[in-house]
Symmetry: C2
Subunit: 576 residues, 2 copies
């Protein structure tokens, strides 16, 4: 027998594990991490990489300000360390800053091997924009060192650390440049990089730009799973040093897979895309494209709903079903995410509801197979009108009476939810939320905003996509009459959205320029939109901040969602 | 005639102007700033200092991400500059970062003189914790230069820049240390330092510590006024170089005043506190003291209500008046803030309300002189029960029926508000919000949370304080029966808060350790609190994050309020 040792023949077998963590649920996260380590070991893995903040979940937000929480992170690392015997493990966790100066924590990667912490790597570039608050908690790294493992020098970075390669760099430091001075053999990046409909392409371009710049293979491990409003889409990547994509992990699913990195830097896996075939610079979306990645949006929303329920410990959703497109799409998504038996639709016609709305809503639930109730609100509405009559004193019908109907529906939905343990899913879309076209505590009620990051024209695109998915059944899952009729809140006779709002086709494009692109009024007008219309819309957006401020978390699918990633003063007087 | 020039006799006349700005309202802010400049000129002022971000208001949050907004800041500076002719003016504003690298903006002070921008000073230490998000927007300063003016060298810093002097410094740089290398003659600090019941003393101690460390006079100018949830309390200070307090600006009020700084560094103003008489180190509050600065809390809440209404363009408030202490205190504060004719109380007894509650609420409004309505909710409640009967199917009375009553009240209050243009003030206290003892869209409804940062025992202290303030009238403004009775939501027969919650005297102290002090369960138990009780309370807090997430802005009076300054994952599984 004269065989070479396996490693010399095969190179090093490196695994990435993209997993769905539950923030602060150390027991569950640790169990998952250990299971993946054991699996990789069983497959001959020598190194396994997890995503950023894997032990505690990302973003743990102010939980990390509790010493108790950080202790639990360290306890998890101790437990995981025991399994890092014949395999090296890289996990993400907060780490204490031993220095007297600076913030108390680092965003760190722990390199575990031989049942010991062999190295601790700190994140340098701390994203503090949009949904990110990292400088709130963490001190940036001030020194950069490679980790040596089995004769290879690893350049380990965390998420944002590889993103400072554009023309207008956000940071004055480039950590990979510093690491390159020490001549690494490969790059490893632990990420928690969230989904939006333009982000997977951007991300792949940025990773590839790093590979082409540094001429090193890249092992990029991203998180997967939804954390309240932020969806992590996985899509981890392995590139060889020529910039060829050798492994592409699935979107929106957990996966643990390995490849062999040969001594010459090549990777033992078929090339999926050659260096030449995919762009190495991110593209910028200049205007709203309602058809962009509807398939990914669909998957993200389903994961967003499912993870919200799973992680909150709930199983059943209730939805107000009006016969309109927003509630129809929400219902269809919820049925896929939770199962038809776990989604209860409630139809609540008022004196101003049209017959076809009820018919459409019934047809929809029959198509979907979910249980539904028909509860007319006329009696409660009349009772409330009677009760308020001495106060209202025969003043004409106004917005107050419209909102009353909406809030009665909110009360009915929440009452059933409280009685039977449902969670109310909200159906408001981004166009409504932008303009304040909704009733606080009425149709704005709910625990999770399913469509709150989709403009109305994107909701239509999603409805059509859902129907296409089910086209084999021969029926329109979402009845065409729901898609084709003019949108209406049906809170007064013959009401149409277009009575109060500009056409969605124009409205949504202006909103996109203001919200996603952050253009000011003059810049938007310069794109050719009518000046008074632009002023009117921007004023609607800014003067309704107080409503959005009380809205539930919205599953984020765009680069700029309402909620934690968009922070606007309520008492501000700007364009309002 | 052989008189010395006036300046040599008198030194330099320096003004501070603490003003209440409206975020994004450039016209109003600029007008105020110019009026103060003209006043200072008329009083022989040679230099006038305004607070941090004075041109646009603080915190402008994501508004600064709009180029259009920054343009408007520069336009304001251009306008203000014209008035900086014979007087030098220091105003705060965002400034563009001309470098390719780093964030696009600085948090800056502009030194204006001779109708020109003579210098631009950048903030170094960017608070990114609690309510602050400065690193979200701004690049820190990397160089430090004095500004020379009339033979004096000014060390100009912005807010946080003088705060890095404690034992566990948050930052690795101390900007005043760098400026000291250039031998300044005086320190000037532009601040937007918010109120909390412990902060004025901390702030004075920090300013004094700087004076004693650098042996220079300090001109410290703070903002005043409430911005949605954050109250700025003014309290600007002037210290001479010995550490004597020479001028103390009022709390919660605008003021523009000047002193003469002599050539020898002394200040021409009577010493209010000698160097020895006030501490130069901040003290730490170790446990909840419900009597701490009740007077300041009272003023902060009144300013918070008044500014919310003024800046939103509203004038009239509506409040659900239950006969309980929370609504009583809220009503009393609103009457002071807005005038009794502008505050409408609505009493909405249900079948479970006690007679004395209605009597107490009536007596309260008679004492306060505000209009009130009595609207029984029985009929609407019965109508809703009837409507839901087929769904509820004779299940026993539960939380659902309690919440129904609360949401009917929410609907009535919002209906009257919508009909007549009132804003609903919320009356929930911090103990309730902590534990989730409240109904979403019911008693948790409202545009502004008046008591949301006061634990129940602090609400009692405030009620007693209010009654003391009015003791000259011979009556208890807040009827004693309201203060003395056992708290109850009155949503089922004979209900008491103590059925669901621990005694407030213990609950509030545990909550304080968890929320304000961020102690973990073991640390709180080590203070002597019962272990199962601590676990139960912490679980209540963490599992009710989804409710607080939809709550309105809360006027912040403590070092850690719910809302923008406390960011906790909703789907987290930590202590829950």
């Amino acid at each position: 027998m004269n065989l070479k040792p396996i490693r010399e023949i095969c190179g090093m077998k490196i695994f990435l594990s993209q997993q769905n963590y539950h923030i602060g649920n150390f027991e569950s996260n640790t169990r998952k991490i250990i299971a993946a380590i054991e699996y990789a070991k069983s497959q001959g893995g020598e190194l396994i990489v997890f995503s950023e903040m894997s032990v505690c979940g990302y973003p743990a937000r102010d939980f990390v300000e509790f010493n108790d929480f950080i202790n639990k992170c360290y306890n998890s690392i101790d437990e995981i360390k025991q399994h890092a015997d014949t395999i090296a493990v890289i996990v993400g966790s907060p780490a204490r800053n031993p220095s007297r100066e600076g913030k108390d924590l680092f965003n760190a990667a722990f390199f575990l091997y031989g049942q010991e912490i062999k190295a601790e790597i700190h994140k340098t570039l701390l994203p503090t924009y949009d949904v990110f608050d990292e400088y709130r908690y963490f001190e940036p790294a001030y020194e950069w060192k490679l980790v040596e493992f089995k004769g290879k020098k690893l350049a380990i970075t965390i998420c944002e650390d590889i993103w400072n390669i554009n023309d207008n760099p956000l940071y004055r430091i480039c950590p990979m440049d510093r690491l390159m001075e020490q001549q690494p053999d490969l790059m490893i990046n632990l990420s928690a990089s969230p989904f939006d409909y333009a982000h997977d392409e951007d991300r792949k371009a940025v990773i590839k730009a790093n590979v082409l710049k540094y001429k090193l293979p890249m092992f990029y491990c991203n998180a997967v799973g939804s954390q309240t409003e932020i969806v992590f889409d996985g899509a981890s990547y392995i590139f060889d040093k020529q910039g060829n994509l050798c492994k592409s992990f699935p979107l929106f699913e957990e996966a643990t897979e390995g490849v062999i990195l040969h001594e010459d830097g090549s990777i033992d896996s078929p090339v999926l895309e050659t260096s030449a075939s995919a762009p190495a610079t991110a593209t910028t979306l200049l205007s709203l494209d309602e058809h962009l990645h509807t398939d990914q949006i669909y998957q993200a929303l389903i994961l967003g709903i499912r993870d919200y329920f799973t992680k909150m410990g709930f199983s059943k959703a209730i939805i107000g079903s009006s016969g309109g497109i927003d509630s129809a799409v929400t219902l269809a998504l919820a049925v896929v995410a939770l199962g038809k038996e776990n989604v209860r639709a409630v139809l609540m016609p008022s004196p101003y509801s049209t017959g076809h709305s009820v018919d459409d809503a019934v047809a929809l639930s029959k198509n979907l197979g979910n249980p539904y109730d028909l509860i007319r609100i006329d009696a409660v509405y009349q009772s409330l009108l009677d009760t308020l009559a001495p106060v209202f004193n025969k003043l004409p019908f106004s917005l107050a009476e419209e909102n009353m109907q909406s809030r009665i529906r909110g009360n009915i939905l929440m009452s059933i939810a409280n009685k039977f343990g449902y969670i109310l899913l909200n159906t408001s879309n981004k166009s409504e939320l932008s303009t304040g076209y909704g009733t606080l505590y009425g149709d704005m009620a709910g625990g999770l905003g399913v469509l709150g990051d989709l403009y109305k024209i994107q909701v239509y695109a999603l409805a059509n996509y859902i129907n296409q998915l089910h086209s084999h059944s021969g029926i329109s899952l979402i009845p065409l009459s729901i898609i084709e009729k003019a949108p209406s809140a049906e809170l007064r006779p013959d009401q149409k959205d277009s009575d109060s709002l500009p056409d969605y086709a124009v409205l949504d494009k202006i909103l996109f320029q203001y919200i996603e692109k952050r253009l000011g009024p003059d810049e938007i007008k310069a794109l050719g939109f009518e000046a008074p219309l632009v002023d009117r819309i921007l004023k609607m957006v800014n003067s309704n901040e107080y409503k959005r401020n009380q809205f539930c978390p919205i599953i984020r699918v765009s680069p700029k969602a309402f909620g934690v990633g968009r922070r606007v003063p309520i008492v501000g007087k700007y364009l309002s």
